[in-house]
């Protein structure tokens, strides 16, 4: 007896969507923290650190996310770590996030007028306070729309977890499509769930961007 795609099946997809959200938030939090370090390194006064971070960003922006995930998933065991798919995915997606957010935030940091930095330095404020109390709060505003857009990309990127076997939204869809033989309805529903997760963020980002542009 073949199951029909009905309400219960839809709830199964929602169950999967929960892991999509959890994975996205995990990667965004860890990747955001790393990304801040990347952005600070990318704007530091030491040339070697800037070059190092630029290379790091270039590597992640020049290779497919799927390959990055495979690389972490197959590479970590060689270093002697036994990793399950959750750990591998969180690490892989976080590194990916850190490179992209690092580049976005580098742009925002550089968009803050340099006089702010110089004035703070002239007042004898140290690097950390200068960054965290003067420059970054202003950069945050500038970088917010692009950061939210990246979060949407990250949520879409977590769909790749399905290819490594984590039962998030897309994988739930694959399983359900195999059970019900109704791929059109199932993938349609999966797409709609992603859509309703992402569209508020997209809308938010566009709105903030408009407001920032109006203020300028």
């Amino acid at each position: 007896m073949i199951r029909q795609f009905g309400w219960g099946e839809f709830l199964f997809l929602l169950e999967g969507a929960r892991w999509t959200v959890v994975l996205s938030l995990l990667a965004f939090t860890v990747g955001g923290a790393l990304g801040l370090a990347v952005a600070l390194g990318r704007t530091s006064k030491w040339a070697w650190l800037r070059i190092l971070m630029a290379t790091y960003i270039q590597i992640f922006q020049g290779t497919p996310l799927l390959i990055q995930l495979f690389f972490v998933y197959f590479g970590l065991p060689l270093l002697g770590f036994k990793v399950d798919v959750w750990v591998a995915l969180t690490i892989g997606l976080s590194l990916h996030t850190s490179a992209f957010l690092g580049e976005i935030w580098r742009g925002s940091i550089q968009a803050v007028p340099n006089g702010q930095n110089e004035a703070a330095a002239a007042l004898g404020i140290g690097y950390l306070h200068r960054m965290f109390d003067v420059v970054l709060p202003q950069a945050f505003r500038i970088g917010l729309p692009a950061t939210i857009s990246f979060l949407v990309n990250l949520i879409k990127g977590t769909a790749l977890a399905a290819l490594l076997g984590l039962t998030e939204l897309t994988r739930s869809g694959q399983l359900m499509a195999n059970i019900t033989f109704q791929p059109l309805q199932v993938y349609g529903a999966v797409a709609l769930i992603y859509f309703f997760i992402c569209i508020p963020l997209t809308y938010c980002s566009a709105r903030i961007e408009r407001r920032l542009n109006a203020a300028r």
Binding site: Q58, I59, Q61, G62, T63, P64, L65, L66, I67, Q68, F70, F71, F74, G75, L78, L79, G80, V152, K156, G157, A159, L160, A162, L163, T170, G173, Q174, A177, Q182, P183, L184, Y187, G188, V190, A191, Y194, F195, C198, I199, T202
Partner: protein
């Protein structure tokens, strides 16, 4: 760490990797060309004064931009046969990437077209240019020139995204790498090589498109 790296089986399979590179380039170029054309149509709809056309275009663009390309290709590859349309892996991949690219291209090109000041068009009209010529020389070409870098990065993004098409057995680079993986079990070496190839490809394409853009858009100096 007691693992001996062995790149020999990977390097020995170079004809396969070359096939893969060609497959990747073929699929992403075709999708970019189709996607850009379709994207211009959506852009025109998006900017038209007709409410319905505009709503359809906005709906399409937002739907595509807010769902993962992996789900889109699954929808095309597994879902379409239910409607009686059976596609090979590569056809499904190209179709999905085209549909995906169209949405992004529409928004990029719209940005370019909006950057053309109305005075330019009025000047063209004052000079007695034909409507089609105005669109061709005053609107589109400068608009494309303005957004050319964004279109280039869109192309590179799509080339990287084409790696997902291995999941519907479209024969591109990652597909061959996975085949090789199942033959040799040299996962780490394979994915390291693959990463280097993609990195080289994206650098190469970025430079090549940059040169092409400089030649093609070098007017009016030419």
């Amino acid at each position: 760490m007691n693992y001996t790296f062995d790149f020999a089986p990977v390097l020995a399979a170079w004809p396969m990797l070359v096939d893969g590179i060609l497959g990747t380039l073929r699929m992403s170029s075709l999708s970019m060309i189709f996607g850009l054309s379709l994207g211009i149509v959506f852009m025109l709809m998006r900017m038209s004064k007709q409410r319905t056309l505009k709503a359809i275009a906005i709906g399409y663009i937002e739907l595509i931009r807010n769902t993962p390309i992996l789900v889109q290709v699954f929808f095309v590859f597994f879902g379409m046969p239910a409607l009686g349309i059976r596609l090979s892996g590569e056809q499904a991949a190209i179709l999905a990437m085209t549909l995906n690219c169209a949405a992004y291209a529409a928004e990029i090109v719209r940005g370019g077209v909006q950057s053309i000041r109305p005075g330019q068009i009025e000047a063209g009209r004052a000079l007695g240019m034909r409507v089609l010529d105005i669109y061709r020389f005053i609107v589109f070409r400068p608009a494309i020139r303005a957004v050319y870098p964004a279109l280039c990065s869109q192309f590179i993004l799509m080339m990287l995204n084409s790696s997902l098409m291995s999941s519907v057995s479209a024969e591109e680079l990652t597909y061959f790498a996975q085949t090789l993986d199942s033959q040799t079990f040299r996962s780490f070496e394979i994915y390291l090589t693959l990463g280097i190839i993609y990195l080289a490809l994206s650098q190469f394409v970025s430079i090549a498109l940059g040169v092409l853009g400089r030649v093609y858009f070098s007017y009016p100096a030419k």
